[in-house]
Symmetry: C2
């Protein structure tokens, strides 16, 4: 279990008072599966049980049927690689094409914080904690489908004063893509705006936010360790666990206007 979490120093805020505390966040790692020496897929995951994940993924995609189909399964945890050899090695090309045509879906665009090339977000906005508490309450009140079904994620673009755009989707990434797609199509400026999301914050979302020049990402859920590292690197204020008049700031707390800074 310890391998799956990382202890970090974060800024815990109640009302407008801050204290630095140690908190645990979930680790996020990339696992690339090679099937018979062909690179099949890279996925973000928790770094544990990679052998089970590789076998389960191949079975779920219909690429293997039973354990006997696997002739070897070697995991290199340090490099994040699982190499699987199967009895049907000669058929990999055919399998690969079928996999791509039928199964290729929502992938993360990059897999290591080191690969990220987006320039850091520059913004001099200062955010009042009570504006965040108010925005989060308005955000949750807007979530009609969630309230009636409990089954969707939401994302919103907000100024410090109010929510400007709002989308819901059964997919965590889709809700964010809908908001940013609308900004793109309608020519809405996203700089100095805030992005609110309902879901867990993993590294892919940080890159999307950085590309739109958004200086603050706010969630009612938790970030992963890679999410925190990327926020730090990309100059994004990362706020999680906004509940009532409390929240955690995981990166770039200097944009949050706190008591001692007023």
């Amino acid at each position: 279990m310890a391998d799956n979490t990382v202890a970090l120093n974060i800024t815990r805020i109640a009302e407008t008072s801050a204290e630095i505390v140690e908190d645990e966040v979930a680790r996020e790692a990339a696992l690339t599966i090679f099937l018979n020496d062909t690179e099949l897929v890279t996925m973000l995951c928790s770094p544990a049980e990679e052998n089970y994940l590789a076998a389960g993924f191949l079975a779920a995609e219909g690429l293997i049927e039973t354990a006997e189909d696997i002739t070897s399964l070697i995991v290199d945890e340090t490099r994040g690689i699982a190499r699987v050899a199967t009895k049907s090695a000669g058929e990999t090309d055919r399998i690969w094409k079928r996999f791509i045509s039928s199964g290729c879906g929502r992938g993360a665009t990059f897999y290591s914080a080191a690969d990220v090339t987006s320039p850091p977000v520059e913004s001099s906005i200062r955010i009042d904690p009570f504006q965040i508490y108010r925005l989060m309450r308005a955000f949750q009140d807007k979530s009609e489908v969630f309230k009636s079904t409990g089954g969707v994620h939401a994302a919103a673009l907000a100024s410090e004063a109010a929510i400007e755009l709002f989308s819901e989707d059964i997919g965590r990434h889709n809700a964010v893509d809908k908001v940013f797609g609308r900004c793109l199509i309608e020519g809405i400026d996203t700089r100095d705006k805030l992005l609110l999301v309902t879901g867990r914050i993993s590294s892919e979302i940080l890159l999307k936010v950085a590309r739109r020049g958004i200086p603050a990402l706010i969630s009612k859920s938790a970030p992963t360790d890679s999410g925190v590292k990327l926020a730090e690197k990309l100059g994004i204020t990362l706020i999680g666990f906004v509940r009532g008049h409390r929240m955690n700031v995981y990166a770039h707390a200097e944009r949050v206007a706190l008591d001692e800074q007023r």
Copy 2:
């Protein structure tokens, strides 16, 4: 909003008493994006704002930069297709290869309940509601990483008496794949077992469960409409919103032992 939800009759259970009530679940649809006449990706989403989703996805994947890159964007909502033409149409092959090699990720394996070929699960197990309430409590107590970080999903294979396997992951699908991968590698029989998950239930997970011959899928979260339809078709008892001594049964309630049936 109405388009994003569907009203269904479900079996609402408190303790061991059942009533049929109308409930709303989130709709789930497939959207296939064609980029310059080449099929790029099929994703599961809520059926609304498909134009924003398509543009946002292309931008997130770095396939377009600005709205000016798009020369046309046509959505066929009925067929679930978005056709996007861009200025760089001649480069689609190169873009497509780059997309596949860098971005191909966790895809759903099928996109329509009509495509599903898995035979229905046959099982004569009868489940006592209090066994489900106890299992769900044990499941949540086991979730160490969730308790310390709030940022992961979990899945467990259980008999009616106890939890047998348990995995956590930052990815909803990964947690299920880890459990099933372990079953595969270690030769653990999954028939007549139950699968417990923390996350929302969309259609992909039903197919995974059916392939392992598991007769009941139990979540503390909500299903989508496609999840419910598939559960019905695949002979899987689908239980959601297990909270304390209450739960909703969305499909095949006949396996749940209720007062009037005892």
